[in-house]
């Protein structure tokens, strides 16, 4: 039986925030996956940055991303020096209808060899250091 995919050891995952990224992480604490959307022209951007790259506005909304996540690309990472036993499936996630958001994450509890580009995903959240939560994904059954 293959080792199921996991994340880096969660207690060792540290993040920091600034004014423009903190809303993403505060939403994650409430188990919501959000992304910055321009309050003027409606363009998405990711990761969060201080300006809309389309119209340079700083007005920002934080809608939840739709439940249409798919694997855009991925890598199967093995043998990271500190966690040699883990199989980590790193993914770039796309959302149908939102071209400008790619979320970099992990797919957990999967058999790595069975995963392919285009597979549908659902979001979950895991506890990481300092009381934050990290969005991760699972294959939709």
């Amino acid at each position: 039986m293959s080792t199921l995919t996991s994340t880096m050891p969660p207690e060792g995952i540290h993040i920091t925030t600034d004014d423009w990224t903190e809303p993403f992480w505060q939403a994650a604490k409430e188990r919501k996956l959000v992304a910055p959307k321009c309050g003027d022209c409606g363009s998405y951007r990711f990761p969060p940055t201080p300006f809309c790259p389309n119209c340079q506005s700083q007005n920002t909304e934080w809608p939840e991303l739709p439940d249409t996540a798919r694997i855009f690309s991925f890598s199967i990472v093995r043998g990271i020096p500190t966690v040699t036993e883990n199989v980590i499936l790193a993914v770039v996630v796309e959302f149908d209808g939102i071209q400008d958001v790619h979320v970099v994450s992990n797919v957990i509890d999967a058999v790595a060899e069975d995963v392919k580009i285009g597979d549908e995903l659902s979001v979950d959240f895991i506890d990481i250091a300092e009381g934050w939560k990290l969005p991760v994904f699972r294959l939709k059954k």
């Binding site: 925030t17 890598s75 199967i76 990472v77 020096p81 883990n86 790619h102």
Partner: protein
């Protein structure tokens, strides 16, 4: 000085110098600065000028000495006795600027700011290992969106681009193997190369998977050493010791669709499974009036084997998506290929000095003195990156 408008071939690389190459950490207890000075002195000797003639420094990678240490013009002046410097500047970001550093030197020279300009890299990985560098960085608000994923090094990041290339175009691991194997073949007769034993397809496929689809043989070496090149005006170059290697074209930069590239992953198709070099290629062909068919030898930044394939596509040596089949056909072989690639053994097999060995080999090919000389080579392409912008490319040519 008077230059005609629009000239792009009025400067040349006239001197190249390098230290021996070392496996990661083995250059210790030399310092980065000491190795850099050795390379500069060797380049001056090669050019036939005194180090006291140096008056400019055109760096890349933020004037970094590898990653985490700094190259310092003031230190070079003090250490080597350089009396006055009239130009000292760097391209931003990382290895993407290597080939473009001589373009920065050209800008200084054509502006009349300096006459003998050094571009260089010195690298020692005794303290920090580049292969997992992102895993060691302190979290910041931007890398907090990347670092938790376990993509701990540049190769891990690029494996994700590679997977998409395979998905879109049917590219096979056999193609990556061909890049690794053909590059190794080129290193076999090179005394300074750190990997000279032949690499077989079996060994390749038995190599440890690091970030699937990439195995250890797709990753460049982790090495130490220094390489310096000296650029000057072409009329001055003609009076010096060596046959000048003209800078026919040089460009750095890139488009937002690539942007932070694999430190961001915001690209969509076709930019995701690409090298970010298409806009550089376009400018080089426009500056030079050349086309891919005119290039005799391509020295493509080979930190990871699939990125060679994506550069072959972005420079137009083959169509987009056909890079895998192109290399599998034997097209990049020194013996019998239509466009010999990384005749020096590249970063995959000779040494990784963040792109400077590609410039060095380009100069030797244009001089006609390369160990794996392409007969009658008139134009050599050297590239820096794929990486966070700027990426860069330079075409060197024979002075006729």
């Amino acid at each position: 000085m008077v230059f005609s408008v629009g000239v792009t071939d009025e400067v040349a690389i006239v001197g190249v110098g390098a230290t021996p190459y070392y496996f990661r950490g083995e250059s210790y207890p030399q310092t980065i600065q000491e190795m850099a000075c050795k390379a500069i002195l060797a380049a001056c000797e090669d050019a036939g000028i005194s180090v006291k003639d140096i008056d400019g420094f055109a760096y890349y990678s933020e004037a970094g000495g590898g990653y985490g240490q700094k190259l310092s013009t003031a230190d070079f002046m003090e250490t080597l006795g350089i009396p006055e410097v009239t130009f000292s500047a760097t391209l931003t970001s990382g290895g993407g600027g290597s080939a473009g550093s001589v373009g920065l030197a050209r800008a200084a020279i054509l502006a009349g700011d300096a006459t003998h300009v050094v571009s260089l890299m010195s690298l020692q990985q005794a303290k920090v290992r580049l292969g997992t560098i992102f895993g060691h960085m302190a979290p910041d608000p931007q890398n907090s969106f990347l670092q938790p994923s376990g993509l701990v090094g540049p190769g891990h990041l690029m494996s994700v681009l590679t997977q998409r290339h395979m998905h879109l175009y049917g590219t096979r691991r056999e193609a990556f193997a061909e890049v690794a194997i053909s590059t190794r073949e080129n290193a076999r007769n090179r005394p300074k190369a750190l990997r000279r034993e032949p690499l077989t397809l079996d060994e390749y496929f038995n190599g440890r998977m690091i970030a699937e689809p990439l195995c250890r043989y797709d990753f460049c070496l982790e090495t130490d050493g220094a390489v310096a090149v000296i650029t000057t005006r072409l009329d001055r170059a003609r009076d010096l010791k060596q046959k000048p290697a003209k800078i026919v074209a040089s460009a750095h930069g890139g488009r937002r669709e690539w942007g932070r590239g694999f430190a961001w992953y915001g690209m969509n198709d076709p930019d995701f499974a690409a090298s970010g070099h298409a806009p550089i290629a376009k400018r080089l062909w426009a500056q030079s009036g050349l086309s891919p068919q005119d290039i005799d030898v391509a020295l493509l930044y080979d930190h990871f084997s699939p990125m060679v394939i994506m550069q072959l596509e972005d420079y137009g040596f083959c169509e987009k998506g056909e890079g895998g089949a192109f290399v599998e056909s034997g097209a990049i072989r020194y013996n019998g290929g239509s466009i010999p690639v990384n005749t020096h053994g590249g970063q995959l097999s000779e040494a990784y000095i963040i792109g400077m060995t590609h410039l060095l080999e380009g100069v030797e090919q244009i001089r006609g003195t390369a160990i794996n000389q392409v007969p009658n080579a008139k134009f050599a392409l050297a590239t820096g990156g794929p990486a966070t912008l700027p990426v860069s490319g330079t075409i060197l040519g024979v002075d006729e």
